[in-house]
């Protein structure tokens, strides 16, 4: 793996879902960044971007939680997230959330430095990956926030395109939402279930062996529904998949470590 820029420092915001439910995605993202020549800093005081409350119509609660994150990035370093959804929240919605408050300047500073992982790997680091894996076919699900609030659709496809043993299968209605929508999936299971049912069927039908996504919310939705209905779908966060492909066994056994 090669990258074009010299060593630089970045902040890593792991997101609450990764911290508690999919830690391997965070670890693999950190390893990827380090292998690309970046020094990764993890502010211990981070919790959640505040999105669950924000989209549920609780802006005061969202602001209280989001404000806690604003103070964690004092140096002018980029802030990398292994999630298009949380990146979209911090990049696009923080300025709205803090409009008219004394925290607006800090919120704008954070917003302007936020990068979804694949965006940073491609557009800033110019990462070139070498594929050490066996031939495989994958499906990519890009979250709606990643697709519409970041450049992650382009950059994720660019990264997968660098892996010459990986064939990207396009599932039916590829651009459609998976039906997660955060609290929506809990509040309206009758509708959410209909959407994710179709997504699972489309992924199964496209012939992919693995589902790749840059967002753990979508991944837990799709694989959680697949597991409930006895459908075999293996989901993998983009970071884990890239690491496994680009570093071969070295990555799988987590012996890579920081360079």
């Amino acid at each position: 793996m090669t990258a074009s820029t010299a060593t630089q420092d970045v902040y890593f915001f792991c997101t609450c879902l990764v911290d508690l439910f999919v830690p391997e995605a965070g670890l693999d993202a950190v390893t990827l960044l380090e292998k690309s020549g970046v020094r990764v800093h993890f502010p211990e005081e981070q919790t959640c971007c505040g999105q669950p409350a924000y989209t549920s119509g609780q802006p005061d609660e969202a602001r209280a939680v989001a404000r806690q994150q604003l103070g964690l990035f004092p140096k002018p370093w980029p802030i990398i997230l292994p999630s298009g959804s949380c990146a979209g929240m911090m990049r696009h919605h923080y300025p709205t959330l803090f409009a008219g408050t004394p925290d607006l300047a800090r919120a704008e500073s954070v917003a302007s430095r936020v990068w979804e992982l694949s965006e940073f790997l491609v557009d800033v680091l110019g990462v070139r990956l070498t594929d050490y894996g066996v031939p495989t076919r994958v499906a990519l699900h890009t979250s709606c926030s990643a697709r519409r609030e970041t450049n992650a659709l382009r950059t994720t496809r660019a990264l997968l395109g660098q892996l010459d043993q990986v064939t990207l299968e396009i599932q039916d209605h590829e651009s459609e939402c998976c039906g997660f929508g955060g609290m929506f999936s809990v509040r309206h299971p009758e509708i959410s279930g209909g959407i994710v049912r179709d997504k699972v069927a489309a992924i199964r039908a496209c012939g992919a062996e693995t589902l790749i996504t840059g967002d753990c919310g979508c991944m837990l939705n799709i694989t959680g529904h697949a597991a409930k209905t006895g459908t075999a779908i293996t989901g993998k966060h983009l970071a884990s998949f890239l690491l496994e492909r680009a570093l071969g066994l070295e990555a799988l056994t987590k012996k890579g470590g920081a360079k």
């Binding site: 919790t47 549920s56 802006p59 806690q68 609030e149 939402c177 929508g181 299971p189 009758e190 959407i195």
Partner: protein
């Protein structure tokens, strides 16, 4: 204000949605219909840069028009009056219906033929006319089918999109006297056309909606494909148009970009078969046209949306229906499940102003906020942002709720609020967060197997054995 007949309470929304999602035939036909409409639209906008420029223009025209709405409405009224078109103002659906019935009685009208008009659906005009002893017949083929079936439109552009060819064939054979069963689309259209032709000639009043009103010239613009709009507005001796106050633009030059966006977004047509520009009743030297033209302008909550800077963008809508054609929720539940005149994403943001947030907030929460609607909206209405705003209004404390939306605070629950407070308290204090997540991870075997709505569709979520932050330390 009495509740419109077709309104379905929130509790029933859930049940209706569930039954549609569970019906494989309906799922297949909804998906097929939406795919068809998406493809048609997409073919009209092959060049994204051109589309973005055109929607910039469309958005600017709509925002400019709204910024001068009160003034433009006055200019419009003066110009229409000068042209011989009588203008009536209705604040509520009841007022609109009363005005209409009054016009009908003055002209001794017994029968009405209707071109397509969603605002007439909004005020339940057909029902009011029926009660007043006046026959009303829909002349748009989709509306005619829906009326024949005693149903409501399930889509603002394609009222009968929920019906299959076979269902329509059976309906015609059952409800139209002297008609034998046929499922040939051409024959069905001919049957409908024959019935309607006779009615056009006999009707006392023709009704239409309006797509755009031009203030400076006093012109009512109406697009359609079947010719029934032109027939409805020219054959009967009286034409009554009904529309919402937001449809006004300043100049004639503002119409073409909106027209282009409307027909391309709605039906994937560069232009509709008919574009009607109505500026006056029949003049002395003219062969065709009605003796009298009336325009009923309806408010019905629109001024409430207008008064709020953010919510005002709701009124930019040109009613193309592209938002519903691209909505994953609409594709799953269809138009009737919403229970409101306007279904889909636009329905979720306009209905709270028409009906009150208290009875419609459940619609605002029924969205993944995926943004597909905003992406295709030809006038850039930020629908997901408006949905978040409406949720915020609905869940606010009634004691301190804003007065921007009628029914604000109606979804407030002290239990839910206490849970959000607890969530925020946990996530705003890193020490509490760490304690909570440490416990959740350490005692993961205690994670409940039933997790509310989540486990309806998913295997229960279980925290990882060790959190990311712990594993990151391990590896250092």
């Amino acid at each position: 204000m009495s509740q419109p007949l077709n309104f379905v309470p929130v509790a029933e929304f859930r049940e209706r949605a569930r039954s549609v999602v569970a019906n494989p035939d309906l799922q297949k036909s909804l998906r097929g219909a939406m795919d068809f409409l998406q493809a048609k639209r997409s073919a009209q906008f092959p060049d994204d840069a051109e589309f973005q420029r055109l929607r910039d223009l469309g958005e600017a025209i709509r925002q400019y028009s709204l910024s001068r709405l009160p003034e433009l409405l006055e200019v419009l009224e003066a110009k229409l009056t000068e042209n011989g078109i009588q203008v009536h103002w209705a604040e509520t659906p009841e007022q609109a219906n009363t005005i209409f019935i009054d016009i009908a009685q003055r002209h001794n009208a017994r029968s009405v033929i209707k071109g397509k008009s969603m605002v007439s659906e909004e005020v339940e005009l057909n029902h009011a006319l029926q009660e007043a002893g006046i026959d009303a017949l829909e002349s748009d083929m989709g509306e005619y089918i829906v009326q024949l079936a005693d149903e409501k439109p399930s889509h603002i552009i394609m009222p009968a999109i929920h019906k299959t060819k076979v269902e329509i064939a059976e309906l015609f054979a059952e409800r139209i006297p002297g008609v034998d069963y046929t499922d040939s689309v051409d024959e069905l259209i001919q049957i409908g056309r024959k019935v309607l032709r006779e009615k056009f000639a006999a009707a006392d009043i023709g009704v239409s909606g309006v797509n755009f009103m031009v203030a400076e010239t006093g012109t009512l613009c109406l697009v359609e494909n079947e010719g029934n709009g032109r027939m409805s507005t020219t054959v009967p001796r009286v034409h009554v148009a009904i529309t919402g106050i937001e449809k006004v633009v300043e100049k004639l030059a503002h119409v073409p970009p909106l027209l282009s966006l409307l027909t391309r977004s709605a039906t994937g047509q560069a232009v509709t078969t008919y574009v009607n520009m109505i500026s006056s009743p029949r003049k002395v030297d003219e062969a065709d046209g009605p003796d009298a033209v009336h325009l009923i302008l309806l408010d019905n909550g629109r001024t409430q949306a207008y008064a709020d800077e953010q919510l005002r963008s709701t009124l930019q809508c040109i009613r193309c229906g592209a938002c519903m054609n691209h909505c994953p929720v609409y594709t799953r539940i269809g138009g009737h499940a919403y229970g409101t005149t306007y279904p889909g994403p636009i329905g979720k943001i306009i209905s709270p102003h028409l009906l009150g947030l208290d009875s419609t907030y459940g619609l605002a929460t029924a969205s993944t906020l995926c943004g597909a609607c905003a992406e295709v909206c030809p006038v850039r209405i930020p629908i997901p942002d408006l949905l978040i705003r409406l949720r915020t209004e609905a869940y606010s404390n009634p004691a301190t709720a804003s007065e921007a939306v009628r029914g604000a605070g109606s979804a407030y629950s002290s239990v839910a609020m206490a849970l959000w407070h607890a969530w925020a308290a946990t996530y705003r204090y890193p020490a509490l967060y760490r304690l909570f997540t440490w416990c959740a991870s350490r005692f993961r075997f205690l994670t409940p197997g039933k997790q509310g709505g989540w486990t309806v569709n998913h295997r229960a979520m279980q925290p990882a054995r060790r959190r990311f932050r712990d594993q990151l330390k391990d590896r250092a």
